[in-house]
Amino acid sequence: MTPNRDFYTGLIATAFFAFVLFVLIPIYVKVPSFIPGFAPPPDMWPRVITVVGLVMGILAILFAIPKMRAAANDGVMTIGATMHRNRKLIVRFAGVLIGFAAFAYAMPEIGFVPATILLLAYLFLMTGNYSRKIWMIGLTIVFPILLYLVFTEVTHTPFPEGHLFSALAADFVTLI
């Protein structure tokens, strides 16, 4: 049999709900010693959901079996081979993950606006299409600053300045 996408979806769903049911709920859903009146405890609803999810995950695996048999007869590629063939796509996806993680980390460190400028530049680079370089460079700088001005003036949102720049500014003031 050749595992197909539905099989892997079922497998991932089953593993996810099992992990939530047997690991996360016992640790992260606290049941208080006293609940007013007769009330269902806080873990009742998450348990019901995860059990339903688990059953559906198993069903998805079972329903995928006939298709997998047919696929084996047709000589369809396995998902492993497909992944190997598409390693460029996987690298790009990893690139997106790294970009997002770096932005979330950099936001409080270097400040909201510089981090957004860097994120926008990175995303433009990742698109792989550089036919509108001038637009890309212009938007990378102007767009976040424009949004910053709009949001600070209209909604008075206090965007993080960043530890790095705050510290540098403080040193500069001390020097003066």
Binding site: G37, F93, L139, T157
Partner: protein, 499 residues
């Protein structure tokens, strides 16, 4: 009454009132169209300005902002697959596929027309049904809410696409994520970090799930046409298309009015409910989710149908139905008006002026919608490689501005990745969305009902309203099982024949 109405008409028909309504609607449409900026934000921001305005003018401004933002959410939902507000999340399901087919203009026009009709019917209901509907709303307690939510959740079956099992898996993930944070008794669930104690915000989750996967898909797969702009195509909505959606618009408007009058339900639920009903009853039900104008009409008429109706419990009983009407209650108080039964005795002149003014706002909504949608439609001409990264940055700013919380931004990014993985695994995103919005109301009302009855399940069957929703739920579950069984039999007979 008619004399008072005439006086009210004269009082409303002044330049300052018209300017306030026009500005409110326009501002609302623009704010609603920006991902992350909500109607609540618009109304709250405008509140300080109303201190200096006469009472009727200030309430009209706030109501106009509410209506405008509710419609505005549909513009970004249709054009860039990013619901501007949570109530427009349902519009994405058919609006964006229509835009991809080069029918973005039609979808925008249908959203505008159905929003205006829904809005107008809602305003009329405010005139004639304020008291009876408010009395009905008072009879809806936790058990009735629970049954209503159970019925609404059956929509998952109809929007699961090719596989009901994958649809239910998606709904379970949505329900599970909705449990993160503090529950009704103050205990914390899945609070892995300190930020998670307050739960996951609806707006970052929705925007992350719908808007970001498009960007990630473009970066990962780099399709050939990613430098091409979207074609808006023929903008005009034909009479035949409008006639085909009239039933859905009227039904959606009535659903919006009834659910809007019940405190705590809100336009998002009304939109899903209406969409589900339209899909169930329409001849083209199978095409919903692939770009059906009727789907856009159903959700948009219902969410705007809620706008006037949410004023019913506020004016008649003094009970705000949601955050926005809560802010409006504050505005009433500031101007020395106390909403509730006495308002109709002591300030009937102001009440009628408000009713007349709110009716006018539907006309302003149409004009502002036409002009603004035209301007926003130009967005679709920008190449995807430039547009999508900028949308992400816009979402990041919008989401951050809601609560000045970096955690919300992280939720947005993580949900984008989750949405992309779901896309790759063929898990439909729509059931997730519905479950995430309706799940907390479903659970809270179930637990409240059981706490009130000390565990007696009979509490769910004490009123005819509960029975009615229960019967509908059972009926639709039975119909779904029958449909799935027929599908399975057809498939197996086809396989046997081909073998």
């Amino acid at each position: 009454m008619w004399n008072e109405l005439l006086y009210a008409f004269e009082a409303v028909a002044t330049l300052p009132n018209f300017i306030a309504m026009a500005a409110g609607i326009w501002g609302g449409v623009i704010i609603g169209a920006i991902p992350g900026m909500t109607g609540t934000m618009a109304v709250t921001l405008a509140l300080p300005f109303t201190f200096y305005l006469p009472p009727v003018t200030s309430i009209l401004l706030l109501v106009a902002l509410y209506k405008g933002s509710t419609y505005g959410g549909s513009i970004s939902a249709i054009l860039i697959k990013t619901p501007g507000t949570a109530s427009a999340a349902c519009t994405v399901l058919d609006g964006y596929p229509l835009a991809q087919q080069g029918k973005g203009g039609k979808a925008l026009n249908m959203a505008l027309v159905s929003s205006c009709i829904g809005d107008f019917i809602s305003n009329i209901s405010l005139f004639f049904l304020a008291m009876p509907l408010a009395m009905f709303a008072l009879r809806v307690g936790p058990p009735e809410y629970f049954m209503l939510m159970a019925f609404s959740l059956t929509i998952v079956a109809s929007i699961s696409g090719r596989s009901l099992v994958l649809g239910i898996i998606s709904a379970c993930i949505g329900l599970l994520l909705a449990t993160v944070g503090e529950d009704i008794y103050g205990s914390f669930r899945f609070a892995v970090t300190e930020d998670m104690k307050s739960g996951l915000g609806v707006v970052p989750v929705l925007i992350g799930l719908f808007a970001l996967p498009e960007l990630i898909k473009m970066i990962v797969f780099r399709p050939e046409d990613n430098n091409a702009a979207m074609k808006l195509g023929d903008n005009r909505l034909t009479m035949a298309e409008f006639r085909g959606s009239v039933k859905s618009i009227l039904r959606g408007s009535v659903i919006g009015v009834i659910l809007g009058a019940i405190p705590g339900i809100g336009p998002s639920t009304a939109a899903f409910f209406s969409y589900s009903e339209a899909r169930r009853t329409s001849k083209n039900g199978d095409k919903f989710g692939e770009g059906e104008l009727e789907g856009v009409a159903a959700s948009e008429s219902a969410n705007n149908g809620c706008c006037g109706a949410t004023m019913i419990p506020l004016l008649a009983l003094g009970v705000p139905g949601d955050v926005i009407t809560g802010v409006m209650l504050g505005a009433f108080m500031i101007h020395g008006l106390t909403p509730g039964p006495l308002l109709f005795q002591n300030n009937i002149g102001e009440v009628y002026s408000l009713f007349i003014g709110i009716l006018f706002s539907s006309v302003f909504l149409f004009v502002a919608g036409k002009l603004t949608a035209g301007a926003f439609a130009k967005i679709s001409r920008i190449p995807q490689t430039l547009l999508l990264p900028c949308i992400l940055v816009l979402c990041v700013f919008g989401i951050y501005s809601i609560g000045a919380s970096p955690f919300d931004v992280s939720v947005l990014l993580v949900m984008g990745i989750v949405g992309f993985v779901m896309m790759i695994l063929n898990i439909p995103a729509a059931p997730f969305l519905i479950a995430f919005i309706l799940g907390p109301m479903f659970e809270d009302n179930m637990r409240r009902s059981l706490a009130i009855s000390r565990g007696d399940l009979g509490v769910f069957f004490h009123s005819w309203i509960s029975w009615a929703f229960f019967a509908l739920t059972v009926l639709f579950i039975a119909l779904t099982i029958r449909r799935e069984w027929q599908k399975w039999r057809e498939k197996s007979s086809n396989t046997a024949q081909s073998a």
